[in-house]
């Protein structure tokens, strides 16, 4: 009887250890590089296509330039403290440089202020005095282009709705600001502005509610593609002809544009952000000069150039 109990307990412990070993077995290679320079990249999360593109760009730069690149990120963009802990743990391993995309800009300042290695921020900026560079989309510009694109497909005086991202997300907030400016300039009437947490399903219900009150909405600008696709579903369910514009330029969005469903998207260049992040991190390690602010650019994607974009995304999605 004693033996059975000890055996069962030991089994529980061994299972846990096995889980640990199995987990680290696959990724041990990434932490290998001893003498080689290493760039640690901490993203908002690795659980979404957008961040996978950033990861692909970062790893590609590592391969081309001969730098060891470690890319990590929490389960979700909302796991702020988990990101802070990951930054601490990466710094503890003495990387040559750190590339970070902060989920909540203010929160990374205390931990990055004391970093003794170059720190680069990508996608989302923060008020960090010792930052080497910020590489990303000028989100206001992206939103402005989105608003311009939507206006070009509508008539003056048409009713439009704006779907914003997670409350407090500065990136999506900037896009909404830009879009509003462009839409108002073109004489569109904004009848609704609602947040949908950058989530597809939420955006669908939010849009359904908006359509209840304003079923003559002619266009929608969404601060990211996931939400734009959710809006599209709500619109299709009611059989309405509404022009929907998204932001980001994900694979799903581009495919939807090719199918003639989504009217367009303002593609960011997450791949370039990851690539430039690592490239400039290496430059900083080597003591070269790095631009303080690097615009990774936006691209207006419509049916005309969607095919080209699709090809590109497919190659980096592997």
């Amino acid at each position: 009887m004693i033996k059975k109990k000890t055996k069962l307990f030991s089994t529980a412990v061994v299972l846990t250890c096995m889980a640990l070993l199995a987990g680290c077995g696959g990724s041990k290679g990434a932490s290998g590089g001893g003498g080689e320079e290493r760039v640690a990249v901490v993203l908002k999360t690795l659980s979404s296509p957008y961040w996978k593109y950033v990861e692909a760009g970062a790893k590609a730069a590592g391969k081309e330039l001969g730098v060891d690149v470690t890319v990590v990120g929490p389960n979700a963009e909302s796991e702020v403290m988990q990101q802070i802990n990951m930054i601490e743990d990466q710094l503890n391993q003495s990387p040559g440089a750190l590339v970070v995309s902060p989920s909540q800009p203010d929160t990374v300042v205390p931990v990055l202020e004391t970093a003794t290695v170059p720190v680069l921020l990508i996608d989302t900026d923060a008020k960090l005095k010792n930052k080497t560079s910020f590489i990303g989309t000028e989100n206001y510009e992206a939103g402005y282009e989105g608003g311009k694109l939507l206006s070009s497909l509508l008539q003056k005086g048409d009713k439009v709705a704006i779907i914003s991202g997670a409350l407090g997300n500065t990136a999506t907030d900037e896009r909404v600001k830009g879009a509003k400016a462009a839409l108002e300039e073109a004489g569109m009437v904004i009848v609704a502005e609602q947040p949908a947490d950058s989530d597809k399903t939420k955006a669908m219900s939010v849009m359904e509610n908006i359509l209840q009150k304003n079923n003559d909405v002619k266009g929608v600008f969404a601060a990211n593609d996931d939400m734009a696709l959710g809006v599209l579903r709500a619109v299709e369910a009611k059989g309405l002809d509404v022009k929907v514009i998204g932001t980001d330029g994900t694979l799903e969005a581009v495919e939807s544009i090719l199918d003639g469903k989504l009217a367009g998207t303002i593609a960011q260049n997450p791949y370039k952000m990851g690539y430039e992040g690592v490239k400039n991190a290496l430059a900083a390690i080597n003591g070269e000069k790095v631009d303080k602010r690097i615009n990774s650019g936006v691209e207006v994607i419509t049916k005309d150039n969607a095919q080209e974009k699709l090809e590109f995304l497919k190659t980096i999605s592997k």
Binding site: F9, V13, T16, G23, C24, P74, I84, D106, V111, L167
Partner: protein
């Protein structure tokens, strides 16, 4: 005659093993975990990393010791993550936005946590909501909603030094936040083992009807339990603000899960009446050590969730074994 002797010897050894496992099971687990991680990662057992772990465990350790009390009474507090957020947002409004004294801010932070905790207690005992799962699920959403509304979901940054002190300072190499955890845990230990209310908490968890019949004011004790849990959420929030110098409405999202995990891994029983302060500390350390170790090994975050889930099941399984043994005996 000889048969009786053999039986007795077995029972004695069973009893000892059971006691050793239930008392030291979590600790043995932690030590084994540390040993495995030290072998796997050279950076693990360094002073810098150990101090990182101490600091990284503080927020959850504070939430967990607060969570221990409801769990001891066979209840639960799902609202602690949201209370953390609401407490720090209110502190931010008072101190940063309205420019008032940091000490008033700290008071507000703790008072909001304790106040909503008290509300949890009232909802459970006076409104007679059937189970704390329901009442705290309600306040979890209410508090999160208020936290988002008060600043229109904008974060608040730039807190005065006095407020940041607990979360960011060090005494030599040791983080103040961890020293705080130790002090708090000692206080809770004394509270639970040496005071009347503490003993009543265990009694209610063990057998609520018997507790009531023996004259314990169960309602009063439960209100105290949930108020303390809420207070700890406020304190945990204060430490978080010290670490990141900002308060944001989505802070603490899902934190109740890691707090519950810490309490359960530490050996407390969901059925109530069983659990210790030091077990909870071990539970919180196991989680922090696991996460830190997996970070150092660059294990993806999603897999970290799988590992923690496995550890929770393993820990509860051991508890089930122990209970089965004691029933047989």
């Amino acid at each position: 005659m000889s048969q009786v002797v053999v039986k007795t010897k077995n029972e004695v050894m069973n009893g000892t093993l059971k006691r050793v496992l239930s008392k030291f099971g979590p600790l043995i687990g932690l030590i084994l975990l540390i040993m495995v991680l030290t072998v796997l990662s050279p950076k693990f057992l360094t002073v810098n990393n150990v101090m990182n772990i101490a600091r990284q465990s503080s927020i959850n350790a504070l939430l967990a010791i607060g969570m221990l009390l409801p769990i001891l009474t066979a209840g639960i507090d799902l609202s602690v993550g949201s209370l953390l957020a609401l407490s720090i947002m209110m502190m931010g409004i008072v101190t940063v936005n309205m420019g008032m004294s940091p000490f008033l801010g700290i008071l507000v932070c703790l008072a909001v946590g304790a106040g909503f905790g008290w509300l949890n207690g009232i909802l459970l005992t006076k409104l007679r909501l059937p189970h704390p799962f329901i009442s705290t699920l309600g306040t979890m959403n209410i508090a999160r909603g208020i936290a988002l509304i008060v600043t229109g979901a904008a974060p608040i940054a730039g807190f005065p030094y006095a407020i940041q002190f607990l979360g960011r300072e060090f005494v030599g190499p040791i983080p103040v936040s961890f020293l705080l955890v130790i002090v708090v845990y000692v206080i809770f230990h004394i509270f639970l083992t040496r005071t009347q209310t503490g003993r009543y908490i265990y009694a209610i968890g063990g057998n609520p009807e018997a507790a009531r019949l023996s004259g314990i004011n169960v309602d009063r004790v439960l209100i105290i339990v949930y108020t303390i849990s809420g207070l700890m959420a406020g304190l945990a929030g204060l430490v978080m603000v010290g670490r990141v110098n900002s308060a944001f409405p989505l802070a603490g999202l899902s934190y109740e899960l890691d707090a519950i995990a810490a309490v359960i891994i530490g050996g407390a029983s969901f059925m109530g009446g069983v659990g210790t302060v030091w077990g909870t500390l071990i539970g919180a350390l196991i989680i922090a050590v696991l996460r830190n170790g997996l970070n150092l090994l660059n294990v993806p975050a999603d897999f970290q969730m799988t590992v923690i889930g496995t550890v929770i099941i393993a820990a509860v399984f051991v508890d089930v074994l122990r209970q089965r043994k004691s029933k047989k005996a």
